[in-house]
């Protein structure tokens, strides 16, 4: 009896095979412009967290800092929040393509249609203002090849 009780309250943390392995996908979220606009990336990061992702926030960052975080944090996906100019984003994308070719990138925020086309051409998916969070989470699932629970 007592053993069943212990099992029921989870006294034995390793009693299920599943607890030994838990593949958790990780996403980097970086801001590359207009540092006052943190609402967008924060809302997106929360939605991703609620969908089961570990989201590593780095705030405003340069291209090199984004690459460094991408490598050290061993992320499965990089998210760029863009505000207006895409120069920093382009540097980050170039660096990641060179050093971590297998890591996909997606982006959102205030992006002009012309910039969006430029990013698309580099293989970066763009989610402009008004995009649904469901679509963004689905994109993350697809880009990280996460198995659906």
């Amino acid at each position: 009896m007592f053993l069943e009780k212990l099992l029921a309250i989870g006294m034995f943390p390793y009693n299920s095979e599943a607890s030994n392995t838990m593949e958790q996908k990780r996403i980097l979220m970086a801001k590359t412009g207009l540092d006052g606009h943190w609402r967008g990336p924060t809302i997106v990061a929360r939605a991703l967290r609620d969908a089961g992702y570990e989201v590593i926030m780095i705030g405003m960052a340069t291209g090199e800092e984004i690459l460094r975080a991408c490598v050290d944090e061993d992320v499965d996906l990089v998210g760029l929040n863009i505000g207006g100019h895409i120069n920093v984003a382009l540097r980050a994308i170039e660096a990641i393509k060179k050093e971590r070719q297998s890591v996909p990138i997606f982006a959102g925020g205030t992006i002009t249609p012309a910039s969006a086309r430029e990013l698309n051409a580099l293989g970066v998916e763009v989610y402009p203002p008004g995009s649904s969070l469901t679509d963004i989470v689905e994109a993350a699932d697809r880009l990280t090849q996460r198995k659906q629970a």
Partner: protein, 318 residues
Amino acid sequence: MNQDISDLLQRALKDDRAALARLLSIMENNSVLAAEIELSLLPSMGKSFVVGITGPPGAGKSSLINALIPIAAKDFDRTAVIAVDPSSTFSQGALLGDRVRMNSYNHSEKLFVRSMGSRGNLGGLARSTVSAVSLFDSCNWPLIIIETLGIGQIELEIAEVADITVVVLNPGWGDTFQANKAGITESGDIYVINKSDRPGVHKTRIELEESLALIPHRSRVPQIVETIANTDTGIVGLWHTIAESLDSKNTDLKQIRELRQQQLFHRLVSFKIEQALGVATKSSLWKNIVSQNIENPEDARDLLDNLLLDISTRLRNY
């Protein structure tokens, strides 16, 4: 151990950051592999100092680490930071935000920041934090700083991993944490009153001194340091206190190495036992035994002996 992992290990030990980063993920995702990796690291570990920084959310732990890094760089060639944030118990996801405050040296080769979700561990550390320490240690990161949430008793776990534990509080702490006073003051070697630009520093210091005086069996009364992390005030003093505390603990490297090895074997043994126990409890033997009626103490003792015998047989067959 599989070939991929030995390759990664070889590369990580030769200072390949991407390999090190990948191994950290593997250890986070798979505790069996983590145990194996750690075992193979044993000969190369025991060279680093580990400083734990703990305290309630928002106390300024990340900001303090950010300010300490350039000063610590004068004494240590390079620094690894493991920053643990809580995972959501609903989604298992996590928002890992410590890096936002550790931005000023992100570009430096001499700094490796790794964010971790606690992934269901209640002790304030992720289950794999200790494994990560072993890896950084083996890969020649001579200073390892762990940031972890600590409220009440929870930060005790960090004290088992770190050579020095720094508890970060703010002015007014006594009012908010009244009920937890005993808990929060037990494990620290150094206490920081951060945000001392705010009112109530003196009162907080006195309350802290009073609570610390209540703790018995302390060989050394912990030091209290006042800081303002975001203006670099008191940071040099804090680093001196940390370095001094490392010295006064007589933590020479040989001793640290022995302690780490002892801890590692402890963990690996209890891990193996727990694993065996996990499998055992699913067997029909265990299920049948527990459904028997136990009528006197001898029966209970016999039952326990039987179960222990079963476990030891299983362990021998590993």
